[in-house]
């Protein structure tokens, strides 16, 4: 009498598909989280560039004329490259600064403790990462040596 050999039993198929789907889900989620991380660091690089760009531009204006340089208040700089002074306020909810498909930033500067020779300059770049607002501050102090 010949014994009939079946292909796989139900248990074998179940174990295989469970293992396969676990590995598959693991690989996929690792890739998605790594993609999110790279996007995050790309935004961080751009944010630090935007902060530095504004600092360089403000430094230029300081050199041009310190008496005309703002000693207090907040200004929004949502254009890059910078060509003129910003608009008053901290940009509110307009995240319109960015390049290509990544227009997610807002940038503003606050001037405090202004005297005739010194002023504190606090630059902030903000953007939404998921639902979390991420902030990159750049604080410096300008001095006029004349």
């Amino acid at each position: 009498m010949k014994k009939r050999r079946a292909g796989f039993s139900l248990i074998e198929v179940l174990i295989f598909s469970v293992l396969f789907s676990m590995v598959f889900l693991g690989v996929t989620s690792a890739m998605i989280s790594s993609l999110r991380n790279t996007k995050q660091s790309q935004r961080r690089i751009m944010a630090s560039y935007y902060a530095g760009e504004l600092k360089d531009w403000l430094k230029g204006q300081k050199e041009l004329s310190f008496s005309n340089f703002p000693k207090s208040g907040t200004q929004c700089f949502n254009t890059s490259p910078i060509a003129a002074w910003g608009i008053t306020g901290n940009c509110g909810s307009s995240f319109t600064l960015g390049q290509g498909s990544d227009i997610v930033f807002k940038r503003y500067v606050t001037f405090t403790n202004g005297t005739s020779t010194q002023v504190n300059v606090n630059i902030t770049v903000e953007w939404n990462e998921g639902n979390v607002v991420t902030t990159l501050p750049l604080n410096t102090r300008f001095t006029s040596w004349e």
């Binding site: 050999r5 890739m31 790309q42 630090s48 760009e53 360089d56 430094k59 230029g60 290509g100 498909s101």
Partner: protein, 183 residues
């Protein structure tokens, strides 16, 4: 009777694989692309930051006077009138306190600095992985009581022209500095 897989089972298995594999591979590819983008962005930013800081610092601390010709005979921006201000395309030559000449210019997509006391000459401030364009170094004098003001501006882009706008990385740099040791 030894029973293998039936045709139907093979087709189903292949169908499942053809649906899942592209998902994994496309994720992998997108990952690689954004990593490349980051590397390019880092290169562009590092070159730009470095070049701007170097030029600004050298002009601010070393330059004693500005000239429009290589022989250092025609001084520019020594008066407040706008006529002596060079245009953005011409090179401004600087003289330091020891009388040595140094200047910056754009050469084949790189920022070159030339000075009698450095070696190699010219010394490139950016590497060949990025392209510098619209480099300009101009000066102006706003009042007779303050030293000339030098404006430095340029843009740094990645090498080559990528197909999509999203991949293009161009950063603009501009700042102004005053001559600390104006003579």
């Amino acid at each position: 009777m030894k029973q293998g897989f039936t045709l139907i089972e093979l087709i189903v298995a292949l169908g499942v694989l053809t649906l899942t594999l592209p998902v994994v591979f496309s994720l992998f590819l997108v990952n690689l692309q954004s990593r490349t983008k980051i590397l390019i962005l880092q290169q562009v930013k590092r070159n730009g930051d470095d070049a701007l800081a170097t030029i600004e610092q050298l002009v601010h601390t070393r330059a004693g006077a500005l000239y429009s010709d290589a022989a250092l005979t025609t001084e520019v921006c020594s008066t407040t009138s706008g006529t002596s201000t060079p245009t953005s395309s011409s090179t401004v030559y600087m003289k330091d306190s020891s009388g040595n000449r140094f200047y910056f210019y754009e050469s084949n997509g790189q920022i070159a600095s030339e000075s009698a006391v450095i070696s190699p000459n010219p010394l490139f401030l950016t590497n060949t992985k990025v392209v510098v364009s619209n480099f300009s170094l101009t000066c102006e004098r706003t009042s007779a009581f303050s030293p000339p003001l030098v404006t430095i501006a340029f843009q740094v882009s990645q090498l080559g022209t990528p197909a999509t706008r999203e991949e293009r990385a161009t950063l603009y740099y501009q700042t102004k500095t005053k001559l600390q040791n104006y003579q």
